[in-house]
């Protein structure tokens, strides 16, 4: 099994998107930490696993009121961060939560992990920030 890269911060993201500022906070904080040369890992559980659903297109569905404007999907936002920082950002999704919620799969850049390995990710990180309610 591939070793877990050590990181400065682990975001354990538990809550559902489209309900609060959770998603925005995680993505913004991740971006800022990476700009400051930190190493970051993100672990999603519950409906947060939907953030990197493989069924997402590059863009959200069209805005019926503003048809020509494109809106990046969360999978695209995560992928852009991962591609910009391949050695300092790692994104994981909980297998149990993904399967329980019927996710067909994640974008290839995201690694699916068994929930029994969560503690290993906490150990591999200097600081864990738990955000959202599962």
């Amino acid at each position: 099994m591939r070793a877990i890269p050590p990181s400065d911060v682990l975001f354990a993201v538990m809550g559902a998107p489209h309900a609060s500022d959770m998603t925005t906070s995680v993505l913004r904080l991740t971006g800022v930490l990476l700009e400051r040369s930190a190493t970051v890992q993100v672990w999603t559980c519950g409906y947060a696993t939907m953030l990197t659903h493989s069924a997402h297109d590059e863009h959200k569905p069209r805005n019926l009121i503003d048809w020509s404007r494109e809106h990046p999907s969360t999978s695209t936002l995560v992928r852009n961060l991962l591609r910009a920082h391949p050695d300092r950002l790692h994104w994981y999704a909980c297998r149990f939560c993904s399967e329980e919620r019927g996710l067909a799969g994640h974008i290839p850049e995201v690694r699916v992990r068994p929930p029994l390995r969560f503690a290993d990710h906490v150990k591999a990180s200097r600081k864990t920030i738990f955000i959202g309610r599962i």
Binding site: P17, H18, S20, M22, T23, I65, R69, H71, N80, H85
Partner: protein, 132 residues
């Protein structure tokens, strides 16, 4: 009681903010505008934190994720103005404004400011009242 059968629907919004980066244009106001189009008209009561959406603001709705600037975020003020343009009535109750430290002079033009409890008195005027 009203003399004719009510046709319009009242939407009560108490939690207007439900995310930015994942939601973008598809926020609760996007739903309201579509419901207003499909139904026989929809009016909106902004209660509690919802009252924040009734206020004028000069803030710029943009943020960055890493190197990527995102300027397609929810813009509640623009959405409320659009609802008004599309025929909806929008109001707040003054105690909700005061609780936020705001006053009626900061309201978006066209948003009504009602006395405490006035929303309840309007319920019989509506076919349905939905908490959205």
């Amino acid at each position: 009681m009203p003399q004719t059968k009510p046709e319009r629907t009242l939407a009560i919004i108490e939690q207007p903010y439900r995310g930015s980066l994942e939601t973008q244009f598809a926020d609760v106001f996007y739903l309201l505008r579509e419901l207003n189009r499909q139904l026989r008209g929809m009016d909106v009561a902004l209660r509690g934190l919802g009252a924040t959406c009734a206020l004028q603001s000069d803030r710029r709705v943009e943020l960055r994720v890493g190197a990527q600037a995102i300027d397609v975020l929810p813009d509640q003020e623009r959405s409320v103005r659009a609802l008004l343009d599309e025929g909806s009535s929008v109001w707040v109750e003054e105690p909700d404004l005061l609780a936020l430290g705001a006053t009626r002079d900061r309201l978006i033009e066209g948003v009504d400011c009602l006395a405490r409890g006035a929303t309840l008195l309007r319920w019989p005027n509506y076919h349905s009242v939905w908490f959205i």
